[in-house]
């Protein structure tokens, strides 16, 4: 197989590995499925057009860096729109209202688990952008501090700071579900 064909196969395999987690990261950040898909698509196309010729080992941090940049761009545009056009906050569902509170959770185990899952998702969505990025890159993608720093374009110390603050915030939000 020629170089171009093998590169396409490798890229396809890589994107298939990361597309689900990338979608969830974007979804946590923008709270809208269609917007999240647009962001992921943009990241995929940018990686394919500009960086497919780079060694495959570089694709993961590059892809998530592109993804985080697109998310940041989305937040900037949203902030601009909110300042001038007073659009309502986008989101598929008001998760806070729909999620069951721990105090009123159904005693059945599955309902309790669902409530804890909802609370976790709400808490992650509520994290500040950089804390959320650091937390999700390390938790969902399993990146170490160095890889996360490359993806976030910051120092390793900053990654540790963002991550630990995220964990503290989640622990405080989840209380008894933090286990």
């Amino acid at each position: 197989m020629n170089q171009g064909g093998s590169q396409a196969v490798a890229l396809n395999r890589f994107l298939a590995e990361v597309e689900n987690s990338a979608f969830h990261m974007a979804r946590y950040a923008v709270r809208d499925t269609d917007e999240a898909l647009d962001i992921v698509q943009d990241a995929m196309m940018t990686l394919a057009r500009k960086y497919a010729a780079r060694p495959a080992a570089e694709w993961r941090p590059l892809f998530f860096r592109i993804l985080q940049n697109r998310i940041r761009d989305w937040h900037r545009r949203s902030s601009f729109r909110g300042r001038f056009f007073a659009e309502p906050v986008r989101g598929d569902v008001d998760r806070i209202e729909q999620a069951s509170a721990p105090e009123s959770a159904n005693p059945m185990e599955q309902a309790s688990l669902d409530g804890a899952r909802d609370q976790l998702q709400i808490a992650v969505e509520a994290l500040p952008a950089r804390q959320q990025q650091a937390f999700l890159l390390r938790t969902i993608e399993g990146m170490n501090v160095e890889e996360t720093a490359q993806a976030m374009r910051c120092s390793q110390g900053s990654v540790k700071t963002h991550y630990s603050r995220a964990v503290r915030a989640l622990r405080a939000a989840l209380k008894e579900h933090w286990q």
Binding site: N12, A52, T139
Partner: protein, 124 residues
């Protein structure tokens, strides 16, 4: 997943991590279809560039291709002008046909001569 094995990380309970990873590993079917379509489109970008790259480098230069097209147009124009703008007339008959016509003429001449002979013998 790489690189975290050597890092002390007891801050996040395993249950929380597992919950997030489990959720992140799957998507609704319609989302999965859209992601797959996006992936195919991105990979096609690489395939398209690879096909273009397989051309000899000589032919990948856009300027060269444009110059070749222009030269072809010029050559055709010159040929038209130098030929007077009209096509050569095709011969009406082919060589074998010419030979057949010449034989016929010879035959007719011989028949005429034979008729003259007969006439002269009859008159004489």
């Amino acid at each position: 997943m790489t690189g975290r094995q050597n890092e002390p990380d007891a801050l996040v309970p395993p249950g929380v991590e597992d919950s997030l990873r489990t959720e992140a590993s799957s998507v609704p079917p319609e989302v999965g279809e859209r992601l797959a379509a996006m992936r195919r489109q991105a990979v096609a970008t690489v395939d398209g560039r690879a096909a273009k790259a397989r051309l000899p480098g000589f032919f990948r230069r856009r300027e060269l291709v444009a110059a070749l097209c222009g030269a072809a147009v010029v050559v055709v124009a010159v040929l038209l002008v130098t030929s007077g703008g009209s096509l050569r007339e095709l011969p009406l008959v082919t060589e074998p046909e010419v030979a057949v016509v010449q034989d016929m003429e010879l035959l007719e001449d011989l028949e005429f001569l034979a008729w003259l002979e007969e006439e002269s013998q009859g008159a004489g």
